[in-house]
């Protein structure tokens, strides 16, 4: 299933500014990146698009507050609520149940776009854990990484930096999935992830390049 996030010039500029600052000053920068770059539409039903937009908005809202507040410690309440998890379960369930025939045409590209392919089987495989994992666990962030696009697209030009970053996120989160949420929060608060930081730096460069191309068009 194709996933898309359209970034208006304002939104793209905000995203670059916040991620740039977050990279040097916020240990939760990867959660911020995920929440800022989550797709808001997909080639599925309008219900999936609406659930995607709802989930992306609620994750972004929480991460924006974390970015501003810079807490010394992180807890379940900072990361999600029961309602947030419920919406994510509903979304994963809807994606997993969608068939190939349900794919709809996406709107034509209007500016810089984050695009990708959502693997329905992988999303479906996460459902049981998503339903049972305690609040604040890493599982919802694994799902968000699965939903994340793989290319920054502007007209004919593409940056593949997002694909490498997505791969590293999935690897790191998978290594934390057997641990308690507390271990995940401690890892977040420490924020020492050189490879992830380097790859996110490449993503920011990719976004900057797309913004520059769009500005000169």
């Amino acid at each position: 299933m194709t996933s898309v996030l359209e970034l208006s010039p304002t939104r793209l500029a905000r995203c670059i500014r916040v991620l740039d600052r977050g990279l040097t000053a916020s240990p939760i920068v990867h959660l911020i990146a995920l929440s800022f770059l989550l797709p808001e539409s997909a080639g599925g039903s309008s219900r999936i698009c609406s659930l995607l937009a709802t989930c992306a908005r609620s994750r972004r809202k929480r991460c924006e507050r974390l970015f501003v507040r810079l807490p010394a410690t992180i807890g379940a309440d900072d990361l999600e609520s029961v309602e947030d998890r419920g919406a994510l379960v509903e979304l994963a369930d809807a994606i997993a149940r969608t068939g190939d025939a349900d794919e709809t045409r996406l709107a034509p590209q209007s500016g810089v776009r984050i695009a990708g392919e959502i693997a329905r089987d992988r999303v479906g495989a996460l459902l049981p854990e998503l339903e049972t994992a305690p609040l604040g666990s890493v599982i919802p962030w694994i799902l968000c990484s699965e939903l994340l696009g793989t290319a920054i697209v502007y007209r004919a030009s593409q940056s593949a930096s997002l694909q490498a970053y997505r791969g590293s996120l999935l690897e790191r989160f998978a290594s934390l999935s057997e641990q308690s949420p507390q271990i995940f929060w401690k890892a977040l608060a420490r924020g020492e992830e050189p490879l992830l930081r380097e790859r996110l730096g490449n993503v920011i460069d990719g976004l900057r390049g797309a913004a520059a191309l769009a500005a000169t068009a």
């Binding site: 208006s8 304002t10 905000r14 500014r17 916040v18 600052r21 501003v68 810079l70 500005a215």
Partner: protein, 111 residues
């Protein structure tokens, strides 16, 4: 007998005087404590709850709000300008708000 009466009056006056002094000293101490405590600001409540962050932390908060430059962060910066008593934090909030509005103006021109 009158001597006892005079003595009783003197003792009563002394105890009243002592009690007044002790009470006054106590309230002075409270007044000093109140004067030393930094005034609370309301605009940080949404971000930091009931604990008022230090002025340095508040400057960091307004800078980040300026980077976000979206609906709720701009509203909070405006609230900070109204509510903030610390000159350095107000200055930072003013700069952040100007920058957020400049970004908004630039992007509305380009769209």
């Amino acid at each position: 007998m009158p001597l006892f009466g005079i003595l009783a009056v003197v003792l009563l006056s002394a105890s009243v005087y002592l009690a007044t002094q002790l009470r006054r000293r106590g309230s002075t101490r409270e007044a000093v404590a109140v004067a030393l405590a930094p005034p609370a600001v309301r605009w940080t409540k949404e971000i930091a709850g009931d604990d008022t962050p230090t002025p340095q932390a508040r400057i960091a908060i307004v800078e980040r709000l300026g980077l976000l430059a979206n609906g709720w962060s701009v509203a909070l910066l405006e609230e900070a300008l109204d509510d903030e008593y610390d000159a350095a934090v107000r200055e930072a909030a003013w700069r952040a708000l100007l920058r957020a509005r400049a970004d908004e103006a630039t992007s509305s021109r380009s769209t």
